[in-house]
């Protein structure tokens, strides 16, 4: 047939109609897509997921790590692990970059040049351990040896304290921005040696004083799991209410239903005021009120009535409500939810000269509503079921560090061994650890994978295995309210050319060589053997999530599951009621030190969700992760109220000199922040590193060096929120690195809001 124009059109019509009418073709042929079936991505190889623990921060989440061809590819939360239930933080994710960091130290290094110059030469492990052992054995007075670690739990606490006790050394734990006041108040008010947790999932009202529990405080992943259910849990009758009392706009304040700004350090006074309202309005059972006030009733706290104290607290009017009425509404809301109310305090509330008083007054509120030990309240944690795992070594207070550094300075220390900590950078500069270590009559050894500021001061650097290459266990703190023991296993071998050793195995080897290996645990051949020894004790309990009469099967299940737990093994203690009148008698105003002239502000140094205390500042995923509120990355910024900045004439990106309480200063860029109170500025910690590590060297500043040495009166912990600084414009300006503005912002209009909001 000749293909004329008419025939072509006819044929085309028939074929199209036929195809449609007969539905001859598969449905997918009508989907607009490429005519070629494309491989959307290639899937090759088999992967394995191994359970272990995250050690990037103290929360120690349970993880599963994806391994392909001997390399770790991805970390995710272990959905079975009772604390984090499958969730994880960005710091867990960045553990991979710790493992494969290009600046990891491959083998032992011995100092060649002057301290701090970074001149080292590689030596063998035999030489390194001979050298360390020689220095340990040379000490006639063994208390001249100081061992410094991070806070320890589980078998590592057991082993390290056994080693230092057997040898006769001193042992201190270091943690930047330590919270000794919190630990003390948990003992004083709740009568607990273990840290409690909070049943956010079942709570109806959460009153948080300064505790940034959704950001960086204690166990944010565990708390976030509960928070999600607190807001929109399946089967909940009412959405939970969160009120955040805070002198700074933290991530938790950003997520609160109501943020109540307050003058720094006045949180305890506000808690007493809330208690006064509950008592005077009879919102709690009378017998409980009598117990808490020693029979005095509301007269014990009348001096804290809202109309008397509101102005002193610095609470502004909110949504047209006067401050004293804001306090009354908080008290009524808190009391209305009864035992499903939680009052927590931490971060800024404890970091003042009166921090212990603040926390005592705050946590006493829980007794008033009966939420201690109740569902939806404060959940107490039992100790570990095996005594050898119950040991915990908490961070020493900053005051204690001050005295210790003075001791070193006075020549009372011959050897310092540091493991996994960087106090040269992280202690307040006024303590002067760096200058103190810079002397010839002291031998400094660090167990460190990276050349940080402390390692640069060391004579001997012993690279440790990273957590993904090493064994371990953990008793989480806070636990989930029942007994949990987490297991950490090596999921990969070190890369070729890397030659690290486990810290615990080094301690065991030193114990044998020095002759300390008379008893358990120091007589164990390896840390792996020690952990198996502990596992046998868990097996002997014959209860919990893993049970098996055969030890090898029990051990394998323990590792596969990521640990052992027993949901029925809860705390059985019944803490006695604190005395509110006695707590009130200890009430004190915070002492704020520092500049008072010119543009002065209360300085709030804060931890961000990415860098936290700065221990991961060398990891690019953490550096490049935008701060949730400002979206700034890679640098230090100064958060200042937009209203104040406009009044001073400061624009975003302007450089200012921040002059500290101790006369030190640095230059940083301004970020206009609509939610920062006019009397404070916020500066993130975590930057300001000088050591030769790519991604962290020379970035930003460390605000802890501006503080001087303000200490909490009772516990000597660092009162890091209790100083005042002055800012002076330098006249220079440049764009600030932030994600905000990289993609054009949505333009909300009346027809289309981006973040839609409903009242319920």
């Amino acid at each position: 047939m000749k293909i004329s124009r008419r025939n072509f059109l006819r044929l085309a019509s028939f074929s199209t109609l036929g195809a449609v009418a007969c539905n001859f073709f598969d449905e997918r042929e009508f989907i607009s897509q490429s005519p070629v079936q494309l491989p959307e991505d290639l899937v090759t190889g088999r992967d394995n997921w191994y359970a272990t623990l995250c050690r990037q921060c103290s929360e120690a989440e349970g993880l599963v790590v994806r391994i392909m061809e001997g390399r770790a590819k991805k970390v995710q939360g272990n959905p079975q692990y009772p604390t984090n239930l499958g969730g994880h933080s960005i710091r867990c994710e960045a553990g991979l970059q710790n493992l494969y960091h290009p600046d990891r130290i491959s083998g032992p290094l011995l100092r060649q040049g002057a301290r701090g110059t970074g001149l080292y030469s590689p030596i063998s492990w035999d030489q390194a351990l001979d050298l360390l052992r020689g220095h340990l054995q040379a000490q006639t007075d063994r208390s001249r040896v100081l061992t410094v670690t991070g806070p320890l739990r589980g078998s590592m606490a057991h082993l390290t304290s056994a080693f230092t006790d057997a040898y006769g050394a001193r042992h201190m734990a270091f943690q930047p921005m330590e919270d000794a006041a919190y630990d003390q108040v948990m003992q004083d008010v709740l009568g607990q040696q273990t840290s409690p947790t909070f049943d956010f999932k079942n709570a109806n009202y959460v009153l948080s004083f300064g505790a940034d529990f959704l950001g960086t405080w204690k166990a944010p992943v565990q708390f976030s799991k509960g928070y999600g259910e607190f807001r929109q849990g399946l089967g909940r009758r009412n959405r939970g209410t969160l009120v955040q009392v805070d002198s700074w706009f933290s991530l938790t304040a950003a997520n609160a239903d109501t943020w109540v700004p307050i003058n720094p350090g006045m949180e305890g006074m506000l808690a007493l005021s809330i208690a006064q309202v509950i008592i005077s309005e009879g919102l709690a059972p009378q017998d409980r009120i009598n117990q808490l006030t020693g029979g005095q009733g509301s007269s014990a706290l009348d001096a804290y009535a809202p109309n008397i104290i509101a102005q002193q607290l610095g609470v502004p009017p909110l949504h047209g409500t006067e401050p004293h009425e804001v306090i009354r509404e908080m008290a009524r809301g808190f009391a209305r939810s009864g035992s499903r109310s939680i009052a927590i305090g931490g971060s800024g509330a404890s970091a003042h000269t009166n921090g212990a008083f603040n926390l005592a007054a705050i946590f006493a509120l829980n007794f008033l509503v009966g939420s201690v030990g109740a569902e939806g309240g404060v959940v107490l944690n039992p100790p570990a079921p095996v005594p050898e795992l119950a040991k915990t070594i908490s961070a020493a207070s900053t005051g204690e560090w001050h005295r210790t550094v003075a001791d070193i300075s006075n020549g009372r220390t011959g050897v310092v061994m540091l493991r996994g900590v960087n106090p040269v950078n992280d202690l307040p500069g006024d303590i002067g650890l760096q200058q103190t270590l810079n002397r010839d009559d002291i031998f400094v050894a660090t167990f460190s994978s990276f050349m940080d500021e402390t390692a640069e001061m060391a004579d001997l650097i012993l690279p440790e295995r990273t957590p993904m290459e090493d064994w371990g266990d953990d008793v989480p703190s806070p636990g989930p309210g029942f007994e949990v023991i987490g297991m950490q296993q090596p999921v990969v071998n070190p890369l070729p050319g890397m030659n690290p050793m486990g810290f615990a195995d080094i301690l065991l080897q030193l114990s044998r060589e020095i002759g300390l290996d008379g008893a358990t645990p120091l007589n164990m051949p390896t840390y792996h053997h020690l952990l198996q020894d502990q596992a046998r004790k868990i097996q002997a309990l014959e209860r919990g999530s893993v049970q098996n009469a055969n030890f090898n099967s029990f051990w394998n299940s323990l590792l596969q599951q990521g640990g052992w737990w027993d949901r029925d093994a809860t705390a059985d203690s019944d803490p006695s009621m604190p005395n509110l009148a006695e707590i009130a008698s200890r009430a004190s105003q915070p002492i704020i030190t520092g500049r008072t002239d010119g543009n002065t502000f209360n300085l709030i140094p804060f931890q961000t969700v990415s860098l936290a205390d700065g221990s991961g500042a060398n990891l690019p995923w953490l550096q490049s992760s935008s701060d949730p509120l400002t979206t700034v990355a890679w640098t230090t910024w100064v958060e200042i109220s937009t209203l104040v900045a406009d009044a001073i004439g400061l624009k975003e990106g302007d450089f200012v000199r921040v002059e500290g309480a101790n006369g030190r200063s640095f230059v940083a860029q301004i970020y206009h922040h609509p939610a920062v109170p006019p009397n404070v500025i916020g500066i993130p910690v975590g930057q300001g590193h000088t050591a030769s590590l790519r991604y962290s060297k020379g970035r930003g500043e460390n605000p802890l060096h501006l503080l001087g040495l303000p200490l909490e009166e009772q516990t000597q912990s660092l009162a890091w929120a209790g100083t005042r600084v002055r800012i002076v414009p330098t006249g220079e300006s440049s764009p600030i690195p932030k994600f905000e503005g990289i993609v054009p912002a949505f333009v909300p209009n009346q027809e289309e809001a981006i973040v839609k909001v409903t009242r319920g």
Binding site: E69, G87, I90, S224, W621, P678, G760
Partner: protein, 245 residues
């Protein structure tokens, strides 16, 4: 019955705290290059899923709202018809797919995307040698001149199809995805369970159940893109009348 699936995501804004866990999980899973300081300053940082922060009100009654924004996998995707080389197309499971070896870098798709979730590689990605060890072998490293964006972690879906359906003879659904580490990386990471992923054609799936929440809405719904990402409104008892919807 893979053809009947339609992958979708529900994002509950009342659960989201803005913690960024999803953002970094996505970077790790999908071999997204390190966003260096210069990338922020030159406005070329890439985040397949980002968390936009919106300020509302004035001090002291100020609020910060968070909203995770990723490719919405629109049924009527404005990015698809403008691609001259079929590098972006809609597959039979409702995914808006980007084929890297077809992309010639016209950037028409990014210009046409109302959600601004497509990112262009102005440079070849760079990592120190040791960081190559951690790259995901299931995901192509994109070179200079290529457009990239969220794929709903299609490599995980494909792996699940091979493993669950091919090897184990099971059914790929949101429960089996969850059990086997096949959920998108952002969903796995989220500590507050803000994100739910699954087959919205299955009325019994978690994602279908949550999508029926009265708080549901779609981003820029009025422009008719018909996204596969469904948001649940933020709840704020203090919201002014005119703000609450």
């Amino acid at each position: 019955m893979a053809e009947t699936k339609k992958w979708a995501m529900v994002i509950d804004l009342d659960r989201c705290t803005g913690c960024q866990a999803c953002v970094v999980a996505c970077q790790a899973e999908n071999n997204i290059p390190i966003n260096e300081e210069k990338d922020f300053l030159s406005r070329r940082a890439k985040q397949w899923i980002r968390i936009d922060r919106v300020w509302e009100g004035t001090w002291p009654n100020v609020k910060a709202r968070f909203i995770p924004v990723l490719c919405q996998h629109c049924e009527n995707a404005p990015c698809e018809p403008v691609c001259p080389v079929y590098a972006t197309y809609h597959n039979s499971q409702g995914l808006n797919v980007q084929v890297y070896n077809r992309c010639v870098g016209t950037r028409y798709c990014a210009n046409n995307c109302p959600y601004q979730v497509r990112f262009f590689n102005f440079h070849d990605p760079e990592w120190p040698d040791t960081f190559w060890n951690q790259l995901n072998p299931d995901v192509t490293v994109r070179s200079r001149g290529i457009m990239e964006k969220c794929t709903f972690c299609i490599q995980r879906i494909r792996r699940a199809e091979r493993t669950i359906e091919g090897r184990d003879g099971g059914k790929v659904n949101d429960q089996s995805l969850k059990a086997g580490n096949y959920m998108p990386a952002c969903v796995n990471a989220c500590p507050t369970n803000t994100l739910t992923f699954g087959d919205i054609n299955d009325p019994n799936s978690d994602v279908s159940r949550r999508a029926r929440d009265p708080r549901h809405y779609k981003l820029l719904d009025h422009i008719g893109t018909s996204p596969s990402v469904i948001y649940l409104k933020k709840v704020d008892p203090n919201a002014p009348e005119e703000e609450a919807h």
